[in-house]
Symmetry: C2
Subunit: 305 residues, 2 copies
Amino acid sequence: MYDLVVIGGGPAALAATFYAASKQLDVAMVYEELGGKIGWLQSLAGPDLHAYLPGNELAHLLTIRATTQGGRSIDDCVLSVTVSDSTFNIGTARHGTLQSRTVLVATGATPLQLQVPGVAELVEGSVGYSISTYAHVVRDQSVVVVGGTARALSGAAELATSARQVYLVAPNPVAMNAPLGQALRQHPKAELLDGWEVTGVVGAHEGIDVMVERQGQARTLSVQRVFVALGLIPNSAMVRSLVKTDANGFILVNRFHETSVPGLFAAGDVSSIFGEHVLTAIGDGARAAMTAYDYLLAQRVVGCV
Amino acid sequence: MYDLVVIGGGPAALAATFYAASKQLDVAMVYEELGGKIGWLQSLAGPDLHAYLPGNELAHLLTIRATTQGGRSIDDCVLSVTVSDSTFNIGTARHGTLQSRTVLVATGATPLQLQVPGVAELVEGSVGYSISTYAHVVRDQSVVVVGGTARALSGAAELATSARQVYLVAPNPVAMNAPLGQALRQHPKAELLDGWEVTGVVGAHEGIDVMVERQGQARTLSVQRVFVALGLIPNSAMVRSLVKTDANGFILVNRFHETSVPGLFAAGDVSSIFGEHVLTAIGDGARAAMTAYDYLLAQRVVGCV
């Protein structure tokens, strides 16, 4: 029986495992991808951008500590989580069922992909899914942002402070009437194409041609980079029937990272407190582990009565 | 004119400065002590305990990055912060008045000291102010916890899971009737001395004798370690007249680390979201810097209209 099973291998999971191990808890981390989205973001941009990714060094240090100092690291996929008599059963694909007193879900979220002809060929370097990581490397470039979410909007605003030209292609705009959307509509370096859709992309001399369409109209936007902000899918399937989520499947947590199920905690991009950045995910993972530790402590002290 | 002035030099301040510099903001960090409480905790326990302090490696890495990659580090004391026309004026002791669009207060909090005869002589190694950092090194030791706060109580409960004997000396108990207090009262390894006061400490063979007194009664507790949890004083004096605080002077913040003053943010132990641990302070500092960045972004975009 573990004290804590952490599901996930990104910064939130690593920080939680690291904290739990430092507290002498019997902790196991079950991950499919060590480092989570960190390695993935690096591969998107190519090796030359390593130095620009703040926090990755810290995450790598945490990876070493979390996997070597106490705690067990299990490379496996979690299929299900159930609870009975305050004990959690964590079903894995290759390591059977793990039992634990508490569980932390830190499995992250997966960006919705832009699925149009030509994207697969361009993905290395010129099509990205994290505006905030790369905003400062687009100085004097033309860029396209695809997506109608609040994050697409704030991303476009961020890009507009340094890019030469920002096209925001919002197939189904939901956030464009917010004050920031209104301001952006007037911005000399931004153009909002709401109701337009991307139909294809193709590599061009020193850039990309992005084909867009609305009601029979067609345009080609010649840019250097495309940022996709269509939304995130939380990786919460294994606990979806156990715990309360919002309409999109993000696990609802309070600021101590407690969920609707006692003993079950969530942190990072899979939770309703979005992780957003390596450093904040580290902090949230550690805070969730602290709450789990307090929960175990109360059980142990009361158990002695 | 700076974009952001960060006041403080601990993990929250370092993470915020690091994030802001990575976003190309014009940021200055004004600190009195680089590393904040981290170095201080180390000196309390002696060099042999370095390896036990989780997160310190990360904080040191952040210190290097925050002070060498962009951003200006100013070793000085901030005397006052005022605001007029959305511009903050930060008065320093030796560097005049700095001007900035936003300010982050991350100055931490100072533990109330145990002021009784004999403490000064013992402070190296045997008297500590951070229970959660050292709880796992007291296995099979006898310890005294001094303080009647909720933190003293949860600290005593944590120590009771590994120590041989825990005495909780609560001069003015406020939290002892909480469920955890009731449980601890029944705990075989804990003794609550509420209403008792420490009158002095003295080094003894392999430990410390702690003299306590209540209404003329006197006892001597022979232990290996003393933990002081009398409370924390937030270092918020320089903004106390500007911003809303709670009754104890902690700066009130929402979960985005906004205070009652637009453009003024707070994170770490000085704020109402307690930092608690190096990792969570890092996360909270980064999140506060993100909020400051969004605030500046909205100003810049709207400013272009």
